[in-house]
């Protein structure tokens, strides 16, 4: 039974009240590959990225108009249905903020009810690996669409396809400034230069691709590689957004704009790329996706996520080999993970993040949906607002980032609140189902000695078992 608890908690998102304990843990995990729904109704009903690009353009226009009309901002204007929590200059983005809040709630609610919690965890893992952050206003509305459109459909495919989908998604192109990167010798670059306009290369995305998305930091590339990749990627931009008609493109969405692409061959990691236009950047990304350093980087992050903060070298090696041998076939890597002994270690080595802990707690009490506002408040309060890691590096996956005194105190407060809102459950029975064969004696005693069923449930949600996976 011990392994059922590992499957539920370390691989999955925590047991769900009323759901049967998986009797064959490995089979239960593998079967999820065939059952995963990449486009469930809960997200297909949300606006897709083309509509969100248009909405952003309109919001930006409204903001500029506001600024032109009243440079002192219209904070003093009475009766503008002011919401106290939004700065006047950001008011035009209210609609996008609502989109964000709804998408974030959809993400939570999917995780609360999913029949494939392991694959859902992988979605979260990859969304964090390829992080965008909504503290950049251009990302606010579209962060959810990024995960739903670029990550979800590709978590059970090849890493190459995942990488290409991510780097072409408007959210990523906008978040890491690729959309405005212009080849100095491109058609538009030359025109701009003649007019004395400063338009040029932005290497933000190129650097993060090498450092975060593929090879990993200090893995052998140098500044020359960054610049060359940045040149190769010029032209990868977002249509439907720019002010200049020349850069509007065919419509809102990813667009390769040949007029800003830097012509010529590129040399990255010692290899020459002589392709034209879009195919050049794609060829480099395809090579990066299956590079041994990428295999090691991805293997290390997966091992850290599923085994321990300090990933066991044996597991890293195993995942790395599976990645290289299969050409970055992700299900092959996941299978290697499931078959490896390290993730099945008995003691829970991972301190749950606020996201993990909240999902596990809500699933434990059988919550089906978290209202939009409660969703935002909960994760804000616990210190991990959805899609707002604040950096392209994503949220840290190590205990010291999450196991803080105040963080723990807040969890305990939320635990009591969740329990107080839940109809009576026998926490003693529930605990055995959530942690089959893995419940500690002190926790069992604490639950048995609680003064009320509600208090027992709150203690279960605050228990050491619940804090880790």
């Amino acid at each position: 039974m011990r392994e059922s608890s590992v499957a539920l908690n370390r691989f999955g998102l925590g047991g769900r009240k009323g759901e049967a304990v998986p009797q064959e843990p490995r089979r239960w995990l593998l079967d999820q590959f065939g059952k995963f729904d990449p486009r469930p109704a809960a997200i297909t009903s949300l606006p897709a990225s083309p509509a969100l690009i248009v909405q952003f353009r309109e919001a930006r226009a409204a903001q500029r108009e506001m600024r032109d009309e009243n440079p002192a901002a219209d904070a003093a204007k009475p009766g503008t249905e002011a919401r106290p929590d939004i700065a006047p200059e950001l008011r035009p983005y209210r609609g996008l903020r609502d989109v964000y809040a709804q998408a974030a709630a959809a993400r939570t609610n999917l995780a609360l009810t999913t029949p494939t919690p392991f694959v859902e965890r992988l979605v979260h893992f990859w969304a964090n690996h390829f992080a965008v952050s909504i503290d950049k206003i251009v990302t606010l509305g579209i962060a959810g669409a990024f995960e739903f459109e670029a990550i979800r459909p590709n978590v059970l495919g090849k890493f190459t396809d995942l990488l290409l989908a991510v780097e072409r998604h408007p959210a990523m192109l906008l978040y890491l400034d690729q959309a405005q990167s212009v080849g100095p010798d491109s058609v538009l670059g030359k025109i701009a230069a003649r007019r004395g306009n400063q338009r040029g290369l932005n290497e933000n995305l190129a650097r993060e691709i090498l450092e975060l998305h593929t090879l990993g930091v200090r893995s052998g590339y140098d500044q020359g590689d960054v610049t060359e990749l940045a040149r190769a990627l010029t032209g990868w931009t977002v249509g439907g957004l720019a002010d200049q008609p020349m850069l509007r493109g065919p419509g809102p969405g990813y667009w390769f704009a040949g007029i800003i692409h830097q012509p010529g061959d590129r040399k990255v990691l010692g290899k020459r790329y002589d392709q034209d236009g879009e195919r050049q950047g794609e060829a480099i990304l395809r090579d990066l996706a299956v590079h041994p350093a990428t295999a090691r980087h991805i293997a290390t992050k997966l091992a850290r996520h599923f085994a321990a903060d300090d990933p066991p070298p044996s597991l890293v090696a195993r995942l790395e080999a599976a990645f290289l041998k299969s050409g970055g076939d992700l299900p092959t890597v996941y299978r290697a993970l499931i078959e490896a002994p390290e993730p099945w270690a008995a003691s829970p080595a991972k301190f749950r993040t606020p996201w993990d802990w909240t999902l596990a707690s809500l699933r434990a009490v059988g919550t089906q949906t978290l209202p939009v506002l409660a969703n935002a408040n909960t994760f804000n309060q616990l210190g991990q607002p959805i899609w707002r890691p604040g950096s392209p590096a994503g949220w840290d996956d190590m205990a010291p980032s999450w196991a803080g005194p105040d963080a723990l105190y807040r969890r305990v407060e939320v635990a009591e609140r969740i329990a107080s809102r839940t109809a009576a459950i026998d926490a003693r029975k529930l605990a055995e189902d959530l942690f089959p064969g893995a419940l500690s004696e002190p926790t069992r005693k604490a639950l048995a000695g609680a003064e009320s069923p509600t208090q027992a449930l709150a203690l279960l949600l605050a228990s050491p078992e619940m804090m880790r996976r």
Partner: protein, 381 residues
Amino acid sequence: MIDRRSLLARGALLTGALFAPRLAYAAAPTQKRLVFLIQRGAADGLATLAPTGDPAYERLRGELADIGAGTKLDGLFTLHGSLGQLAGRYQAGEALFVHATASPYRDRSHFDGQNVLETGGRLPYDRDDGWMNRLIGLLPSGDAKALALSPAIPTALRGAATASSYAPTNLPDASPEFLQRVARLYADDAQLHDLWSEAVQTRAMAGELASDGGRGAAAAGKLAASLMTGPEGARLVMMESGGWDTHAGQRGRLANQLTGLDAMLAALRDGLGSAWADTLVIVATEFGRTAAVNGTGGTDHGTGGMAMLLGGRVKGGRILTDWPGLSQSALYEGRDLRPTTSLDTVLAGAIAGHFGLDPVLTARRLFPGGAGKALEGLIRA
């Protein structure tokens, strides 16, 4: 109204067969009151009652050697400059200070140290009930109305006997009872235990004495006094104060803390009026702080500390200490003031003297983890 027969029955039950006469005396209702003020966070005894006459003092303390315009109490000790009213009580013979004292606890975790101080046990978490709660069982029921001035019932007052709590401020979201159970749930989990203790400490800081230049503290003292007066008033009161964990910038912070403490004690005495003569106030903290100043103008968790006894019948105007000195070889583990007086013997002696209880029985019942003895002669008959 006190039912005389049940009172006698209760007294008989407690005394056992033929116990000391003093217990029989205790079975008669009195007007005695006890206030236990815990300083959570390890108050710096070496700054509160500074051994300015110790040759190593200036060198160890550096910038912290300056304790304001203090009151020189004898050749060795100076009371901190922020404790002007307390100095007056000392001079009036109503305040007694105990220095280089400690509970049986010898590590440096706030949470564990407070647990030992409050339970009277030998080790953290080896008992669930507190010494103050067990004291209730030794007193006639009319003397035993217990109250904590805090949202939670603190560990010292927890146990079989009934105690209530009252906090005028907004309660935190999580209920105190629940938070205490969480603390016990984490007791065996080193990581969560440490995090939790730190969190509770930090939260306690929010209500520290230092706020409003002592006005808040004075109000707390006044409130406590008001809840203790009149026939229905509480007889055993526990008060908590936080903000003593001065790892950095101690000089100003501690001065503010002590200003608050001084104001609170004065307000308590004023509010109690004539009942002050029947009141014993104990001020104690979980342990002391390092002898030397650290790199951030503060001090770190130490061992030996100080405690105070105040009240109308305290044999005060003196300092009770077997001063170990601050020379390097005298320091405990080379860094802390060496504890030379068991705090439990002092508390047991004072409480027994105050309530007229048998000293040894009191020591054993209230502080089973202690030395099993009680220092007598701390209270005037």
